[in-house]
């Protein structure tokens, strides 16, 4: 679901341009408002959606809930350190999701790959990626799953 900008809400601050890892958020030269220059190349990381202080960037939803009144909105609350999403389906159903902000300061937590031991033969032949994020424990103690954690899937919420 690539992102798009409501130009009436955008004030041209450039936060989305700064943060877009795909370098596809740019500033229109006529109106000085941001826009997604190439939605096909969007990674759908939603960094721009979360970074926008004016709530001007939304997500173009898939066919199961768009068009006709759908909305995907996000509020990034820096004081509380959380991100809240609201997904409104075209039927009017609303799903609210909330997660902690995990943005790191620029330049910190860059892995020092020189110090990382080379992968073993078993790791090379494994189906797993070499440097899986350790906190989801794909290569160390298995992955946390809802089942392993005794959690249940709630209707309409998919992990």
């Amino acid at each position: 679901m690539p992102t798009f900008v409501y130009m009436t809400r955008c004030d041209g601050c450039g936060y989305c341009v700064d943060i877009c890892p795909s370098d596809i958020m740019h500033i229109d030269t006529t109106w000085r408002r941001a826009y997604n220059i190439e939605p096909d190349m969007c990674w759908e990381c939603y960094s721009c959606v979360k970074a926008c202080p004016m709530h001007a960037i939304d997500v173009r939803g898939y066919a199961d809930f768009c068009p006709l009144g759908h909305a995907v909105r996000v509020h990034r609350d820096e004081e509380e350190g959380i991100i809240a999403w609201r997904i409104k389906f075209r039927s009017g159903r609303i799903k609210d999701l909330v997660a902690p902000i995990t943005t790191k300061p620029w330049g910190k937590y860059i892995p020092d790959l020189k110090q990382v031991p080379a992968p073993t033969k078993e790791q090379r032949e494994s189906q797993l990626l070499f440097n899986e994020p350790k906190y989801i424990r794909l290569d160390d103690g298995d992955l946390y799953t809802l089942e392993s954690q005794g959690l249940k899937m709630r209707q309409g919420v998919y992990y």
Binding site: T30, W106, I136
Partner: protein
């Protein structure tokens, strides 16, 4: 005293009479009004504004009282209008305040000088205010134009690369900078040729500024307060433009989705946020 002299009084030597200057001011006001009306009609911004309001009314969860609406209007005037609180970047906010107050002081003092002191060499307070306004506008404008403009700050373009979106700021810079230079060469140096050159550039900038409202972002000073007021209303009446509700961190940390990332150390989980940590990739 140079700093209180009236630059418009010296225009008589170029054959420009007070009547001509006053007609120019009246034409400028008409051009601004006409430009804004044409802009509203062309972009259909007023139509969108009222349609959006009606759409959001259906999502409202409570009715706002007239005292609440009045309070919000006061807050908009105090925050968004008078102190430009919508800017998250403090440098951009300071530059905007310099430009806004500089422009107001400059325009008002120009009108006062043209209508009330058209032939007097020294205009006291208003002569001084004309310079203060022009300097504030030039300082804020050049700071914004060379350092803070999103094309320079985020897009990494050179400051001298121009686009149509620059029409408003360039004409503001022209009016303030050429105005000050014209005043300087007329009053201090006494060079008629250079004074005439900079006055001509000042005049062209003023024509572009007031005559180009339809193509520039001049109208934002009227649209922005209305949009800010509408936004406050939508946030207060429960419609919130479909945004999610406010959460407290303590209320959500024990939810099941949080369990999946519970091993991440707290200092890594909650790093500095985007607004508090300026990008430094340029």
């Amino acid at each position: 005293m140079f700093i209180t002299s009236n630059p418009f009084a010296g225009l008589a030597q170029f054959g420009i009479t007070p009547g001509m200057m006053q007609i120019f001011v009246i034409l400028a006001i008409i051009a601004v009004v006409a430009g804004i009306l044409l802009d509203v009609a062309h972009k259909k911004s007023a139509k969108y504004f009222f349609e959006h309001t009606e759409r959001m009314k259906k999502l409202a969860t409570r009715q706002l009282s007239s005292s609440e609406k009045t309070s919000m209007l006061v807050q908009v005037i105090l925050n968004e209008v008078l102190t430009s609180s919508e800017f998250h970047n403090p440098k951009r906010r300071i530059a905007h305040l310099l430009k806004m107050y500089g422009f107001i002081i400059f325009v008002v003092s120009s009108a006062v000088l043209i209508f009330f002191y058209p032939t007097e060499q020294y205009a006291g307070f208003w002569g001084l205010m004309w310079r203060v306004g022009a300097i504030m506008l030039a300082v804020g404008g050049w700071w914004f134009f060379t350092k803070l403009r999103v094309d320079v700050l985020s897009e990494g373009k050179k400051w001298y690369k121009l686009a149509r979106a620059d029409m408003f700021i360039v004409s503001l810079l022209g009016v303030s900078t050429f105005g000050l230079l014209w005043c300087f060469f007329q009053g201090v140096v006494g060079s008629t040729a250079l004074a005439l050159l900079f006055f001509a550039l000042f005049l062209i900038s003023a024509v572009v500024l007031f005559g180009g409202v339809y193509w520039s972002k001049f109208g934002h000073m009227f649209f922005k307060p209305a949009a800010a007021y509408q936004k406050r209303i939508l946030m207060a009446d429960g419609s919130r433009e479909n945004l999610p509700p406010f959460y407290k961190r303590a209320e959500v940390l024990d939810q099941s989705t949080m369990d999946l990332v519970r091993d991440i150390p707290a200092d890594q989980k909650f790093g500095l946020c985007i607004m508090k940590d300026e990008p430094n990739h340029y």
